[in-house]
C-alpha cells in the first residue's frame, strides 16, 4: 500500500496537479514523476509482462526500469514505452498502461501465466508444432511487442547541435558535479550531461552532510556556480547514449518533459571532447527468488529514493532484503523519513554491526544469515516466505543484490573491464586520460572515496591538457556512515526455478537459463540469444548480472571467465526522430536549384533531375517536343552561339606548396607541370586502374589549382581527394576545398561566342592569341569577380564564365539580353550530351563502366608514357589490361535509328552466340543528318570501317564502325 508521507521530498506540496492514468485522475505534486505518482496513489500494477502478462509494479527509480513502461499521449503525439520513472508529471499528462486488455488490472490475457510451460526459452523451436508453426505464428505475432506503435506522422521538431569541449563529464552525481566544478575553475571548457531532470544522482536520496550542511545546500551552491560559468554547458534530462571514436559522444536531450514543453521535442548533441570523464554511477541488482516479480517488490535503493526524493512510502509494512551494506543505509533513511520499515534481512552471516545496532535502537529488526525464498501474493505482495520457512507479512519488499557499475559507455569506447570478486560486479580497469572512470562507476561506495576520485581524475585531466592545477579548490568534507561494497554470495537457485525471474520484461526465468545450458548454449553470447535475457527494452540493466552469475555457477567457472556480452550503444534507448533530426521529408534529399532557376523556368525549361540538381534538359518552344528542341538547340550552337547553365559542374580548389605533386598522383596525364593560366583535361582512376571521373585541372598560380569534375562526381571526388590527403599522404602540404556551389558557371559555345563576350566590360583579354583553347584567367567581368575558362564540351569555340553564385541569375539575364540580336540560344543538358556525342567526348559512367581502363578509350599510349606514379598505374600493367581483345570505345553509324539505341548489343561477323559489345550512347545528329552512337566493342579500335550487327531485343540491323570523333577531327572549330 504505497502512500504519500507527511513530509519530505523535492516536491512542491503547495500546488497540486493531476495526471490521467488510464483515464483516471491521479493527484501529484510538481517534482513528482509518473512512477512516484503511481506509488503515492497505491497503483500496484503499472504494466504486464510481455509473454505471460503477469502483473508488474514500479521496480526501480531510473532508466533501467523493466516494468513501468507506459504510453504517453495519443495519435501523432503518442509515445510508446516511456519509463514512468523518468517522466516528470505535468497537469493533464495522459498516461496509459501497455500490453493489457481491457485494463492493466483485469488483463484478460493474465491466464497465459498458467500456460507458462509452453513459452520457455526458444519455445518456437519446440512447442506450437501442430498443425504447424505457420498456423500459430499469426496469433503469436499479435501478442508480441509490448506497446501500440504510433501510426501517424510525428509533428514534432528535433534539433541537432555540435559542441566542442575540453572535458565531457557524463553523470551529474556527486563525483561528476565536483569534477565539473574543478575542471571549470581550472579553465577547461566542460559539457556536463545528466540523464535525470535533476542533478545529484543517488545522493539526492540521502541524508548525508557535506561541509556540515545537508547535501541540498552543497548542490544548490555548486549548480549555481556551474550555471553561471561561461565555460560550462550543463545539460539535464540528457542521456549520453554512446561513445565513439576520437572523443565523439552522442547525447539526446529531452525538452518535451519541461512544463510547459519546449517547441523542440528533443535535441541531439554531437559532442567532440578532448577528454571524457565518466561518472555514470552504478545500478542496483535484484535478488532472485520465487515470485520475485510481484508488484510491491522494488529495489531497496528505489524504496529509499522514493521516500527521500518524492516523500512516498512504497508500503505500510516495508521489509528490506539484501546481501550488502547499502540496504542498511536505505533503512536509516526510511526511518528518518518516517516510512514504516520493519525488518532488514541480510543473507550474510555478519552485517555492519554499528548500523544494525542503530537500526535496532529505532525499532527496526535486523536479521542476518537469512534470505527470502519466495514472495507470496495474488496481484500484489502480501507476505514473504523465508528460507527458515517463516512467513512475514509485508506489502513492500526492497531488494538489493549488490551494485553493478554502469560500465556501458566505458565499454563502448572498448576500454577494459574486470570482475571484482568482493563486490561481485564488473568494474572499469586502466582508467587514464583521455578517458577516466570515477565514483560509483569505479566501484567507490562512499562519497568520500568518490570525491577523492573526482579530485585525482581532474588533476590527471589537467596534466593531460598541459594545465597547472593550482586553482583546485579544497575538497568538500563529508559526514556519512561508512559502508562496504562487499556483497554476499547469491543463494543457489533452487525451488521452482520456473517462477524465479531474471528478465522481467522478456519473462526470462532461471529455468530458461537452465534449459539453454542443458542444450549446450554455455557461452554468454549464446545464452543471451537463446533465452533473449537482456535483449528487452531495459537492455538487461537489472537482469544480465544475475544471469551471468547463474551461468558461472552452473558451469563452475568464475564470472570473470564467463565475461559479459558486448555493450552496444545506445546506453538507454534513443528516439529515432531525434537522431534523424530535420533531415526528413523535404530536407531528406533537398532539391538543388540553380542560381538562375527562375530564369530557366520563365524560358520554359523542360526539367531533368540530375545528381540532385534540377536542370533544364532543353527549352522547348511553343509546339515543339523536347526532342525537337534538342535538335534545334544543337544546330543553333554549331551555327551561332548557345548559352548553357553548367553551374553543377564539380569545382574543387587544391592549394598549398605540394598541390602540384598531390594532383599529379591522381591523373593519368601530368598536370603538375602546367603553366599558370593553362588548363588540361585529365582522367582519374581508382586503384584498379578503372576510370572513375574526368574533368579539367586549371592552374591559377604555382600553389593554386582548380579541379573540375563531372556534376555527379562533385561530392564523391572531393571525398576521394580528402581520403588520400588525410589517410595516405598526410605529409603533403595541401588543402582540398570543394567550391562547386560558390560559383555560377555558364558555357558560351559556338562560332560567335567571342562576339557575345565582347559585349561585356572585362579586364580579361580573351582574344585568340591571349587566350588559346584550354586556358584560364581571373579578372572582372560585367563588374564582378570572375574566372573565365576557354574550354569546350561541345566541340565548338567555347568559354565558361564563372561568377560568384549570387550574381548568377543576373549574369544569365544579361548574357541572353546582350546576344539577343544575333540569336543567342539557351540549351540544356540533353543538348550538351548530343553535342559531346558528335565530338566523341567521353561521358564517364555512361560510355565507361567499372572495367573500363584508359587504353579502352584511347589513352593507352599516353598512360604508358607517363613518368611518375599515379593511382591505378600498377594495375594498368596487369596482363588483363594488356589484352588486345578488350572492349574499346568506337563510333557507330549508318544504321537504323530505331535499333541503334543505348544498351543494344553488337555482334561481329562470325559471332553467333554472345556479344562483342554494346551501344553506350546514341542520338540523331543534326550536324551529320544521321543517327550516330558510341559503343564499347571488342577489339574495336582495329575494326574502323568494318560492318557489324546491332541487336536490340528482337530487332537487328547493320552498322559501320568508325572513329568516335564524328565532327571536327582536326579541331578547326575548337581552336577557332
Amino acid at each position: 500500500m504505497g502512500y504519500r508521507l507527511l513530509k519530505g521530498g523535492h516536491i512542491d506540496r503547495t500546488q497540486q496537479v493531476h495526471i490521467r492514468w488510464n483515464g483516471r485522475k491521479l493527484p501529484a505534486f510538481p517534482g513528482d514523476t509518473v512512477a512516484s505518482t503511481l506509488l503515492a496513489n497505491d497503483v500496484a500494477i503499472a504494466g504486464r509482462g510481455m509473454k505471460l502478462h503477469r502483473p508488474r509494479g514500479v521496480f526501480t527509480i531510473g532508466p533501467e526500469e523493466p516494468n513501468a513502461l507506459v504510453t504517453l499521449g495519443r495519435g501523432s503525439e503518442l509515445e510508446p514505452s516511456a519509463r514512468a520513472t523518468m517522466i516528470p508529471v505535468r497537469d493533464g499528462l495522459e498516461v496509459r498502461a501497455q500490453n493489457a486488455w481491457p485494463s492493466v488490472r483485469f488483463d484478460l490475457a493474465r491466464g497465459l501465466d498458467r500456460t507458462a510451460g509452453l513459452w520457455h526459452a526458444a519455445f518456437y523451436h519446440k512447442t506450437f508444432k501442430w498443425p504447424s508453426w505457420d498456423f500459430w505464428e499469426r496469433w503469436i505475432r499479435r501478442t508480441a511487442g509490448i506497446a501500440q506503435p504510433p501510426r501517424e506522422r510525428d509533428p514534432a521538431r528535433y534539433d541537432a547541435v555540435n559542441a566542442h569541449c575540453d572535458l565531457l563529464v557524463v553523470g551529474g552525481g556527486p563525483a561528476g558535479l565536483l569534477a565539473a566544478q574543478m575542471a571549470s575553475r581550472a579553465g577547461l571548457t566542460v559539457v556536463l550531461a545528466e540523464q535525470d531532470s535533476e542533478c545529484g544522482g543517488r545522493l539526492l536520496a540521502t541524508n548525508t552532510l557535506i561541509n556540515d550542511a545537508p547535501v541540498t545546500v552543497w548542490f544548490a551552491s555548486l549548480l549555481g556556480e556551474l550555471a553561471a560559468s561561461r565555460n560550462v554547458t550543463l545539460l539535464t534530462a540528457t542521456t549520453c547514449f554512446g561513445l565513439y571514436d576520437h572523443g565523439t559522444a552522442g547525447l539526446v536531450q529531452r525538452l518535451d518533459l519541461r512544463s510547459p514543453p519546449a517547441t523542440v521535442r528533443q535535441r541531439y548533441w554531437r559532442v567532440h571532447a578532448k577528454q571524457t570523464l565518466l561518472a555514470t554511477g552504478a545500478i542496483e541488482q535484484p535478488l532472485v527468488f520465487e515470485q520475485n516479480d510481484l508488484p510491491g517488490i522494488l529495489l531497496a535503493g528505489a524504496v529509499r529514493q522514493y521516500a527521500n526524493r518524492y516523500g512516498v512510502a512504497a508500503g505500510r509494512r516495508i521489509v528490506l532484503a539484501t546481501n550488502n551494506d547499502s540496504a542498511y543505509l536505505a533503512a536509516l533513511d526510511l526511518v528518518a523519513a518516517d516510512a514504516p520499515v520493519k525488518l532488514v534481512l541480510d543473507s550474510r552471516t555478519e552485517g555492519p554491526a554499528d548500523l544494525a545496532k542503530w537500526l535496532r535502537a529505532q525499532g527496526v529488526e535486523v536479521r542476518t544469515g537469512v534470505r527470502v525464498a519466495k514472495a507470496i501474493g495474488g496481484r500484489r505482495l502480501e507476505r514473504v516466505l523465508l528460507d527458515t520457512q517463516e512467513e512475514i507479512a509485508c506489502d513492500a519488499l526492497g531488494v538489493s543484490g549488490g551494485w553493478q557499475p554502469a560500465v556501458h559507455l566505458w565499454s563502448h569506447a572498448r576500454a577494459p573491464i574486470a570482475y571484482d570478486e568482493a563486490s561481485r560486479s564488473f568494474q572499469p580497469r586502466a582508467s587514464r586520460p583521455p578517458l577516466q572512470a570515477i565514483g560509483s562507476l569505479a566501484g567507490r561506495t562512499t562519497l568520500d572515496a568518490s570525491f577523492d576520485d573526482a579530485m585525482s581524475a581532474v588533476r590527471q585531466a589537467l596534466a593531460h591538457a598541459g594545465k597547472t592545477e593550482e586553482a583546485l579548490l579544497a575538497r568538500p568534507a563529508v559526514q556519512e556512515a561508512p559502508i562496504s561494497a562487499e556483497t554476499g554470495v547469491l543463494p543457489p537457485a533452487n525451488g521452482n526455478t520456473a517462477r524465479q525471474w531474471l528478465d522481467f520484461l522478456h519473462d526470462v526465468t532461471v529455468a530458461d537459463a537452465e534449459i539453454a545450458l542443458s542444450e549446450g548454449y554455455e557461452h554468454v553470447e549464446l545464452l543471451k540469444r537463446y533465452t533473449t535475457c537482456g535483449m528487452a527494452a531495459d537492455q538487461g540493466k537489472t537482469s544480465n548480472l544475475n544471469a551471468l552469475h547463474i551461468l558461472a555457477e552452473k558451469n563452475a567457472k568464475s564470472p570473470g571467465e564467463v565475461g559479459t556480452t558486448t555493450f552496444r550503444p545506445p546506453y538507454t534507448p534513443v528516439t529515432l526522430g531525434a537522431i534523424a533530426g530535420r533531415q526528413v521529408g523535404e530536407r531528406y534529399a533537398p532539391k538543388r536549384l540553380l542560381p538562375a532557376h527562375a530564369e530557366h523556368e520563365s524560358l520554359g525549361a523542360h526539367w531533368w533531375e540530375a545528381g540532385g540538381w534540377m536542370r533544364p534538359a532543353c527549352y522547348p518552344r511553343k509546339g515543339e517536343t523536347p526532342a525537337q528542341a534538342v535538335q534545334r538547340e544543337a544546330s543553333a550552337v554549331r551555327a551561332g552561339v548557345g548559352l548553357f547553365d553548367a553551374s553543377p559542374l564539380g569545382k574543387i580548389e587544391v592549394t598549398g606548396p605540394d598541390a602540384a605533386k598531390f594532383l599529379d598522383r591522381f591523373y593519368v596525364n601530368n598536370v603538375g607541370r602546367l603553366e599558370d593560366g593553362r588548363v588540361r583535361y585529365g582522367l582519374m582512376l581508382n586503384e584498379n586502374g578503372i576510370i572513375i571521373d574526368d574533368g579539367t585541372v586549371g592552374r591559377l598560380g604555382r600553389q593554386h589549382f582548380v579541379v573540375t569534375t563531372t556534376s555527379g562526381g562533385a561530392g564523391r571526388i572531393a571525398a576521394w581527394l580528402e581520403e588520400w590527403r588525410q589517410c595516405e599522404w598526410p605529409d603533403l602540404e595541401v588543402f582540398v576545398s570543394p567550391v562547386t556551389t560558390q560559383w555560377a558557371t555558364y558555357a558560351i559555345a559556338g562560332p560567335r561566342a567571342r562576339q557575345l563576350l565582347a559585349r561585356f566590360r572585362t579586364d580579361i583579354a580573351f582574344d585568340w592569341r591571349s587566350m588559346p583553347h584550354m586556358s584560364l584567367r581571373e579578372g572582372r567581368f560585367a563588374g564582378v569577380t570572375a574566372r573565365l575558362y576557354r574550354v569546350s564540351f561541345s566541340g565548338e569555340l567555347g568559354y565558361e564564365i564563372n561568377v560568384p553564385a549570387r550574381y548568377g541569375a543576373t549574369l544569365w539575364q544579361e548574357l541572353l539580353k546582350a546576344g539577343a540580336d544575333f540569336g543567342v540560344t539557351p540549351y540544356g543538358v540533353e543538348t550538351v550530351l548530343l553535342l559531346r556525342l558528335e565530338k566523341g567526348y567521353l561521358h564517364v559512367g555512361v560510355d565507361t563502366d567499372g572495367t573500363t581502363t584508359p587504353s579502352d578509350v584511347g589513352w593507352g599510349e599516353l598512360a604508358a608514357r607517363r613518368k611518375g606514379e599515379f593511382i591505378g598505374k600498377r594495375s594498368l600493367a596487369r596482363p588483363d589490361n594488356q589484352r588486345t581483345d578488350r572492349l574499346q570505345l568506337v563510333g557507330l553509324t549508318d544504321a537504323d535509328a530505331g535499333v541503334l539505341v543505348p544498351g543494344a548489343h553488337l555482334r561481329l561477323p562470325g559471332t553467333i552466340e554472345g556479344s562483342d559489345g554494346w551501344v553506350t550512347s546514341a542520338a540523331h545528329s543534326p550536324a551529320l543528318g544521321k543517327t550516330i552512337a558510341l559503343a564499347l566493342l571488342r577489339r574495336g579500335r582495329k575494326l574502323h570501317g568494318e560492318r557489324l550487327m546491332v541487336h536490340d531485343l528482337d530487332r537487328k540491323c547493320e552498322a559501320t564502325v568508325v572513329s568516335p570523333t564524328f565532327l571536327d577531327a582536326d579541331g578547326k572549330r575548337l581552336n577557332a
Binding site: I579, N688, G850
Partner: protein
C-alpha cells in the same frame, strides 16, 4: 539497429535502393533497420554516428510513424568488400585450400548459388563454369568482375 518492440506494424522486409535502408519487424515486435557502410576501411565493428544518422533519416523518411520509436541497440560488423565488389570464389595456389569470400554486398541474395557452385568446385577440384571468372587470380591478372552497379547498396 533495432527499436523497442511494438505490436505488428510492418509485415514485409522492405529494401529501398533509392534511400539506402532496409526495414523489417521481428517476431518479438522490434523494428530492424539497417544499411550503409562507413565510407572508409575500418575493423572497429562499431559503426559511427554518421551512418547511424543516415539510417535513422532513411527509416523515418520511409515510415514517418517510426519517428517516436526508440532505438535500443545499434551494432555494426565488418563487411568484406573486394576491390571490384564481387565475391572471390574457387581454388587457390595451395592444394586443398579454397576460398569463398568478399560477399559483403550480396551474400544474402547470391549465396545459394555460391554454395552450390563451391560444392561442385570442391568435389571436382576445378572451378564450376559459372564461377571461373570469380577466382582469386583475377586480382593478379586484372580481369575484374564489376558488380558495383548491381549491388553496392543496402546490405
Amino acid at each position: 539497429m533495432v527499436t523497442e518492440p511494438v505490436k505488428p506494424l510492418i509485415d514485409s522486409v522492405l529494401v529501398s535502393a533509392a534511400i539506402h535502408v532496409y526495414v523489417s519487424q521481428t517476431g518479438r515486435g522490434e523494428v530492424v533497420i539497417g544499411g550503409g557502410a562507413d565510407v572508409f576501411s575500418s575493423y572497429a565493428q562499431r559503426g559511427g554516428l554518421p551512418v547511424f544518422e543516415a539510417n535513422a533519416q532513411a527509416a523515418v523518411e520511409l515510415f514517418p510513424c517510426l519517428s517516436r520509436l526508440r532505438v535500443m541497440r545499434q551494432w555494426a560488423g565488418t563487411v568484406d568488400i573486394s576491390p571490384d565488389t564481387s565475391p572471390i570464389m574457387g581454388p587457390t595456389p595451395i592444394a586443398g585450400l579454397y576460398v569463398s569470400a568478399g560477399w559483403g554486398t550480396g551474400g544474402y541474395k547470391a549465396i545459394p548459388a555460391g554454395g552450390e557452385t563451391m560444392a561442385y568446385t570442391l568435389a571436382r577440384d576445378e572451378p564450376h563454369p559459372l564461377i571461373r571468372s570469380f577466382g582469386l587470380d583475377r586480382f593478379a591478372s586484372g580481369a575484374l568482375v564489376d558488380e558495383g552497379a548491381a549491388s553496392g547498396v543496402a546490405h
